[in-house]
Amino acid sequence: MTETAAWTRVGAIDDIPILGSRVVATPTEDIAIFRTAGDRIFALYDRCPHKQGKLSQGIVHGTAVTCPLHNWVIGLDDGLAKDPDEGCVDTVPVRLEGRDIFLAVKP
């Protein structure tokens, strides 16, 4: 039986710098929430598929983030590594209600 993820408010969009990222801690691992230049919000597990680098510490551009460890570029919308690298990190459902950010974390 699959448990449904519950939507939890984790903060406001203004808590994250434009082209920046903040981390939401969970009992298992950190989730990185990203804010783009156009105020879109994305969430990925905070580990690069390459060497588990903290994506939350990378430079955000367009809808991608460059990992600080070895410059892999990961798509924020799909968690896929861009060419020529191959790999994928799980995305986490996230939505914006007004200025509030809600995250669907599995309990």
């Binding site: 903060g11 434009i18 920046g20 903040r22 969970t26 950190d30 510490q57 990378g58 430079i59 460059t66």
Partner: protein, 814 residues
Amino acid sequence: MNMIAKIPARRRLILIGNGMAGVRALEEILTRAPDVFDITVFGAEPHGNYNRIMLSPVLAGEKTFSDIVTHDRDWYETNAIELIAGEAAATIDRDAKTVTGANGTVRPYDALILATGSNPVIIPFPGHDLPGVIAFRDIGDVDTMLAASRTGTHAVVIGGGLLGLEAANGLARNGMDTTVLHLMPTLMERQLDPVSAGLLKKDLGHRGMTVLTEANTKAIHGAGKVETVELADGTMLKADLVVMAVGIRPNTALAKSAGLDIGRGVKVDDFMRTSDPAIYAVGECVEHNGAVFGLVAPLFDMAKILADHVTNTAETPYIPAVTGTRLKVTGIDMFSAGDFTGDDTTDDVIFRDAARGVHKHLTIRDNKLIGAVLYGEAADSGWYFDLIRRGADISDIRDMLVFGPGVAGGGDSGVESLPDTAEICGCNGVSKGRILTAIAELKLTSVDEVRARTKASASCGSCTCNVEKLLQFALGDGYDATPKIKAMCKCTAHGHDAVRAAIVERRLKSIPAVMRALDWVSPDGCASCRPALNFYLLCAWPGEYADDARSRFVNERMHANIQKDGTYSVVPRMWGGVTSAKELRAIADVVDKYDIPTVKVTGGQRIDLLGVRKEQLPHVWRDLNAAGMVSGHAYGKALRTVKTCVGSEWCRFGTQDSTAMGVALEKMTWGSWTPHKTKMAVSGCPRNCAEATIKDFGVIATESGWDLHAGGNGGITVRVTDLLAKVSTEEEVLEYAAAFMQLYREEARYLERTAPWIERVGVAYVRDRLSDAGGRRLLRDRFLESQRLAQSDPWAERAEGAESHEFRSLATVE
């Protein structure tokens, strides 16, 4: 079955002497008859062939040895030439037709070419054989001079001709106190009239050289090595190095022992044949009609005549052409050709503008130009040289002749107005017509291509701008003079330099403004261009541009080094590597309090605390601040560390207080952002315990002051520093250091360390920018102004709560 027997037998050709003239002869032979000869080359030097004319720029630091290699080993292999490098030919057996090398290698020949070149003349003054007395002839001599300039301070060059002055310039550029001794009353008396020689003497003086004319060397003194040079008038000159550049003498030893006819050189006929018809000679070893040769152009002409004859292509007799001379000293513009001495049958036309340092001296006989000396302004040299070589009648333009082709040539100026027969490249004898034909027929579009196909500008390079003008002339708008620029990243077509220039010229003051103005193709750049733009803006607009944290690499945003597990390392600043019990105690307390797993001493004389968690950082910093320690910037493209030795305060060898010097340098430079990380070191004596010669900026104390070095690197590609200057006071060290930092900040590309930057722009350029006192102080002032705004401790700000979102989670979900 013997396959080889079916191939028609090739003739066996041996070249003795792997230098410019001999190898050029091989090239000319291969062009005419690629499959006729099996070729073997004996060369005494252990290299392929290199361009000996360019040794002066190598010495002056304007080129590297690899830049001047013209034929590497691949070339010999590709052309199936056997190169016996490092083995001089020892004997020739003309009856058996064999050559035997010094190590016993024997090769047979059908045709033999002697290109044994010349030997420098060493005048046997007392002491001429002391270590430290050398000639200026090959790359080995250049290495000796460069080594001497690192350990010694005084050089004496005997001989004020072309070679001697180029050697002196190179030594002066390497920081040596250089004196030129010339026996005659004026310098370069065979190429310059007394007036231009006087201007030259003055110009060399401005470049830090002392020139003594009518200086009669009496003896060289020293115990075990050269120490002083004594002149006939009793003057004693200090010398760590003596370069004798008083002339060359054809090297005829081998020819003589083989029984060939010898005069001053190996005697040859009009087809370059010696007294044995199977043996040719070419180059500086040759005597033709009583004349010997020292410039490259006639040698290359001889190579063509020889190739024509040995391949049975043509029988053109060699007729020596008028030669032109230039001095390869950057910034000194001179040209001399033909006969300017004059007699009853000649007239002189002289133009002089003393304030501009320009002097032109034309010699005319029977309405023909027979000689020209141009000093201070030699742009029209090609036009005058062509008039001399053609023996053109100048009666119609005589009144305007001295003003050059712009006036006398009917309004046209420059190479466009030259006839097709005009020689563009004097070294290689390439005419304008040949270059234009090559451009058209081979569809050449760049100077490099023209150089590769025609040899024009391939030797001394001084005609490069004329070759470029011919390309423009031939291709019109089709010629793209801009070198192919590498784009900053895939977000833009612009290169780093163009972007920097636009930031300043168009007064762009934010990253979005740059991206809009320069048509970035991505909305907010990428992780490659954004940090570069952030630095360029910070450097261009200190105090005005607001640093963009989102365009900083994580380490510079967090002011700590991210580690592979996502924790950080913290390195507090220790000025000049000096610490105290109080600081060490505070560090120990921090380690205990925050349970920091690893403490490590770094290569830059600092203490590294490894494994600090992100949320601990502001607390760790607050505690370190409380003990007086600030950020060590071990994480930044910034001034990292100034490493020092203990210096004269404690060391029995120390000559200056290197520790205090290092602390002063670090106090001045800390907190500055640079294109890449920047490391300094100060050593208290030439033993150099602080390893200053592999640092971006290195200072080494001497008895008399400080040697300033730059561009060293100890990373993947180790590079030893170049000497920038020798100074005597602490103030000068700081002034040069600040100016160097600012020049690097303003002109290097982002992520370019000082070593590749200096390799790219040339150490001569950096020296020039820093040796000009006015320019140096302006750079220094800009650096200090930028520092006034940059020197605030980022740790203290964050310990007080700045940027707190960087160190805390947004939320915790249970």
